[in-house]
């Protein structure tokens, strides 16, 4: 249908575009303007999870097994919901320890064990290669469908030599790509920014392509989803396809597949690569934890419609419906777009998976062997940095060719989905060591190794070998009868467990073996010191970087360390390590012992390039590796966790203490202020008492000493003595009143009384005095009667005090005072105004404090007016408050000065009120209409 050359040009053109994007990403990274520093790009890069298997295989699986394909995406959704906890933790640890791959992670967790790392790398290699083959197969098949349609796309491999097989060339081009963009830095823990940018772009392409073919199917081939589902509803077998009944294994199979996908998502090497190693910023996980599930949901929306449409419109290979549907409609562009989408999905997966695998192979398999070999031992000089990159490049090529080989040899006999799920189950074998190791400090390397090996063997027996058998490589008879006729060893019904779907069956037994051995062996194994430390670091019972440095007891010189780094990482990198803060000056003698922190930095730098196990071996080789004995480690660890716990509690306590001391400080400040006020009060009172006392004494002495004084003069002196005595007793009375008020012991005898009458009476009492002083007093009493509840004597005292006060502060020339009594709602207000200078608003409350009276008194004195004790206003306010009223100052309504307002509630008709009126709080904001 579509011309072969067009497709080839298009495919390789697309790969060239990837080169451009990756090169751009790398250049931006070098300029420090990262393309991938966004949570959205991070989420898109995680979408490398959706491979060609998703792109073509989902529809195939939906056509055969109904909704079971959804589980492959629900599992990762669950995992991403937990991402803020689980993946966040892995990212933190990986960054601190310069982890390069999942094999490195597991090896580092269990004491940087090189054998464990090698085991993980081997399992990954065996388990994942078929998955890479699957991508190549998808490319080949989709290409064949595209070119050969409408003829069946049968077996292009059989009559083609490998050099005419496009998938071979695709593998080679990808190898070049990965070598260019995947092995730029020696440090594998550094991010491959260009590659991630290309992957994110590919994720967009495959999503767009799939949505395009989905929309075409639903809205062009059919008249919308309603039409499609209505047509499908006429076929009972299609209706049945959409129920749980068509899921292999039913409800049990459902759960099994969910768990399988959940674990595989966290443990597939490529997922670990994009989730953990390539993570730029831990905060990106937040966005990705919902954006990536959303991506999965969207890319799956059209899977069932396409599957139904394919089945309705005439079948064929269900794995190719995505291509054959638009082809059958006679379109040209859409099938090409779909092909490119599938190519994106396949190449994206291959790129990341190959980088992850090649890092594992070079760091966990090849390097440890090279380090052990005599030829490369430390005696020889020369730079090994180039070697390292070379190893990684060769392994990239090797892995892709291995994938191609697998594809060429047995790819024909597998359907897409089968291979994918088998690989998933293999990756799941890492999950116990990974996840349990993250949360249980007691998990031991030996347990992990044994568990993983056992799980792998069970996996091979229950999934891999039967797969070979079904491909015709082995006699499939043992599937039915068991090997050598041993029925309980049948791969699909181990120990007689029958009726389960093969994946759930395999997952159950392999995980039982894996977890069982991991836990069981760990419980009976003593860990090495290093393992103990690493376990504590990974389970975060100990802060990163605390102990390794302090634990390090091996000794080496700076010179040896520098030589080691020069040799393996090159001089530039070793200079960086030595220059990192705190800078190690070059002048220091190379024969000096290297400090622990420097040794640790050197080990981390080596770990970033070689993996943690090899880094450890190298450091040990120069530092003697005298790790501290177990007792020391245990003691330090226990102390550390206890200290941490103690710290937490201490922190809490110190927070509480801080709060309490804050309160104490405030209380203390208030007490000091009160104390100061009291002192002032005492000083003031003494002063006030002494003045009349002095004059009494002086005049009394004159009278005693000068018996011959004229009567007139004697009379005058006696008058002064009497007046001053009266003033003294008045003062003492006031002080007593104040003391009683403040201690709450003031006794009032409230009765129902007429405030209007009382006011008139008070005015009469002071009128003469005021007139003598030249103050003109105006009185405006509006109500005839004003019944309030009060103590007549005390109230009179208040009113007189107010009038007296106003008289004192009225203007010097033509002093005037105005008294008004008016009704205000349910209260009576008695306002006394003067035409004096007034009181500033912020002073108004302070004049009721006894100590500010001093200033008042002084200012009054300076104007030559009669002085008071200065206690009048506080006492008045206390009395009014006791009677349930208020006393405050506001702007004078008619005169210019201050206006003191007393407000008392109206008495209830005839019934005497209670004396226990609450203290009247002075209102801050009174309405202006208060004064008429």
């Amino acid at each position: 249908m579509t011309g072969g050359p067009t497709v080839v040009v298009l495919a390789f053109g697309y790969l060239a575009l990837l080169f451009v994007i990756a090169a751009w990403g790398d250049r931006r990274a070098a300029q420090g303007r990262s393309l991938i520093g966004s949570p959205t790009v991070y989420a898109l890069s995680i979408a490398v999870y959706c491979t060609a298997w998703t792109f073509y295989g989902s529809v195939g699986r939906a056509a055969q097994f109904g909704p079971s394909f959804l589980l492959i995406y629900l599992g990762p959704t669950l995992a991403m919901l937990m991402a803020p906890f689980v993946i966040g933790k892995m990212v933190r640890i990986a960054r601190a320890q310069r982890i390069t791959s999942i094999a490195d992670f597991i090896s580092a967790r269990y004491g940087k064990s090189s054998s464990l790392g090698a085991l993980v790398a081997l399992i990954a290699l065996i388990g994942i290669t078929p998955y890479i083959a699957l991508q190549l197969k998808a490319i080949t098949v989709s290409h064949a469908v595209l070119v050969n349609y409408p003829q069946a796309a049968d077996l292009p491999l059989a009559d083609e030599r490998f050099w005419t097989d496009r998938s071979f060339w695709v593998a080679l081009v990808l190898a070049v790509f990965i070598i260019l963009f995947g092995t730029r830095h020696l440090d594998a823990s550094e991010r491959h920014e260009g590659m991630v940018a290309a992957i994110a772009f590919e994720s967009l392409v495959k999503l767009a392509a799939f949505l395009a073919v989905g929309s075409f199917t639903v809205f062009v081939l059919f008249n919308g989803p309603a039409d499609l589902f209505a047509q499908a509803g006429e076929h009972p077998e299609l209706t049945r396809l959409l129920s749980l009944a068509s899921v292999p294994g039913g409800a049990l199979g459902w759960v099994g597949m969910l768990v399988l996908a959940f674990l595989a998502f966290l443990t597939l090497p490529r997922q670990f690569q994009v989730l953990v190693v390539e993570n730029v910023d831990e905060r990106h996980i937040k966005r990705a934890s919902w954006l990536f599930p959303l991506y999965l949901l969207v890319i799956n929306l059209f899977v069932i419609p396409i599957a139904l449409a394919g089945l309705l419109l005439g079948g064929g290979d269900s794995d190719s419906f995505v291509l054959t549907l638009p082809l059958s409609a006679g379109l040209e562009a859409l099938p090409l777009l779909v092909f490119i989408g599938g190519l994106s999905a396949a190449t994206g997966m291959m790129i990341v998976e190959t980088i992850a695998l090649s890092t594992m192979v070079s760091n966990q398999l090849v390097m440890p062997l090279l380090l052990r070999s005599e030829r490369l031992h430390l005696g020889t000089r020369g730079e090994l940095a180039g070697w390292l990159l070379g190893i990684r490049r060769v392994s990239i090529l090797g892995i892709l060719l291995l994938g191609y080989l697998y594809h060429a040899l047995i790819g024909e006999t597998y359907s897409l989905v089968t291979i994918g799920l088998v690989s998933f189950a293999a990756a799941c074998q890492f999950a116990p060591a990974l996840l349990i190791g993250l949360y249980w400090r007691g998990a031991r390397g030996r347990g992990a190794a044994l568990g993983m090996s056992a799980g792998f063997l069970v996996w091979a027996w229950t999934l891999l070998i039967p797969g070979f058998a079904q491909s015709g490589w082995l006699d499939p008879g043992f599937l039915e009868r068991g090997p050598w006729g041993i029925a309980w060893l049948r791969p699909y019904a181990l120990f007689g467990l029958e009726g389960w779907d093969i994946y759930t069956h395999s997952l159950l037994w392999s995980l039982v073996a894996n977890v069982g051995l991991l836990v069981g062996v760990s419980l009976f194994t003593r860990p090495s010191a290093l393992e103990q430390t690493q376990a504590a670091l990974f389970t975060e019972t100990m802060p990163q970087g605390l102990v390794p440095a302090s634990l390090w007891q091996g000794q080496t010189t700076r010179g040896e360390l520098r030589a080691l780094l020069d040799r393996y990482l090159g001089e530039a990198a070793s200079r960086r390590v030595f220059a990192a803060p705190p800078p190690e000056s070059d002048e220091v003698d190379d024969d000096q012992p290297a400090p622990a922190a420097l040794t640790l930095r050197a080990e981390q730098a080596l770990a970033g390039s070689l993996g943690s196990a090899s880094a450890r071996v190298l450091i040990d080789s120069v530092a003697g590796g005298e790790a501290p004995d177990l007792e020391t480690v245990l003691r330090i660890l226990d102390t550390t966790s206890e200290t941490l716990e103690m710290n937490r509690r201490l922190e809490q306590q110190s927070r509480e203490l801080a709060r309490a001391s804050e309160e104490l400080r405030a209380a203390n400040a208030r007490l000091r202020e009160l104390d100061r006020l009291k002192d002032e009060f005492v000083a003031m009172v003494s002063h006030e008492l002494r003045t009349p006392l002095t004059s009494i004494r002086a005049f009394a002495e004159i009278l005693r000493d000068n018996r011959a004084l004229p009567d007139e003069k004697r009379e005058h002196f006696l008058d002064v003595v009497v007046r001053e005595s009266q003033r003294l007793s008045r003062l003492i009375e006031e002080i007593l009143d104040l003391a009683r008020l403040e201690s709450g012991r003031l006794t009032l005898s409230p009765t129902r009384l007429d405030l209007a009458a009382l006011t008139r009476q008070s005015v009469e009492a002071v009128q003469r005095l005021q007139e003598d002083r030249g103050v003109s007093l105006e009185v405006a009493i509006e109500p005839e009667t004003a019944w309030v509840v009060g103590d007549a004597d005390r109230l009179e005292q208040v009113i007189i005090n107010l009038l007296d006060n106003a008289g004192k502060f009225a203007a010097d020339d033509d002093p005037r005072v105005l008294l008004r009594l008016a009704r205000h709602k349910t209260h009576y207000r008695l306002a006394v105004e003067d035409n004096g200078p007034g009181i500033a608003p912020d002073e108004r409350e302070r004049v009721f404090e006894k100590f500010h009276q001093i200033q008042h008194r002084e200012s009054g004195e300076s104007r030559g007016r009669p002085r008071g004790s200065g206690l009048g206003l506080p006492i008045s306010r206390g009395i009014v408050a006791h009677l349930g009223g208020r006393l405050w100052i506001e702007d004078a309504a008619q005169l210019d000065g201050a206006c003191l307002v007393m407000e008392l509630p109206e008495a209830p008709a005839e019934a005497p009120a209670s004396t226990d009126a609450p203290d009247g709080a002075p209102p801050e904001d009174r309405d202006a209409g208060a004064a008429p």
Binding site: P67, L78, L81, P84, G233, S243, A245, A251, L258, W290
Partner: protein, 73 residues
């Protein structure tokens, strides 16, 4: 993830997700008579979880510490 409240909510959401995707509810959705409602059910539950997660993850950024408490509507 800074405050205990958010951790608790996230844990609750994970439990809810596990519940929604597990057989008891899935069986109920599947056994609806005649046409199976399993697929619409799964997509609905899936979308709801994603929306809840997005709400939980994105809301925190623009919000001060004090307000975290009051929005338990």
């Amino acid at each position: 993830m800074n405050t205990p409240r958010r951790k608790e909510r996230l844990v609750a959401l994970i439990v809810l997700a596990a519940l929604l995707f597990s057989p008891p509810l899935v069986l109920i959705a599947s056994s609806a008579d005649g046409t199976s409602r399993l697929v619409p059910y799964v997509f609905l539950a899936w979308g709801t979880l994603i929306a809840l997660m997005a709400w939980l993850m994105e809301r925190r950024d623009e919000e001060g510490r004090g307000r975290g408490r009051s929005d338990g509507r």
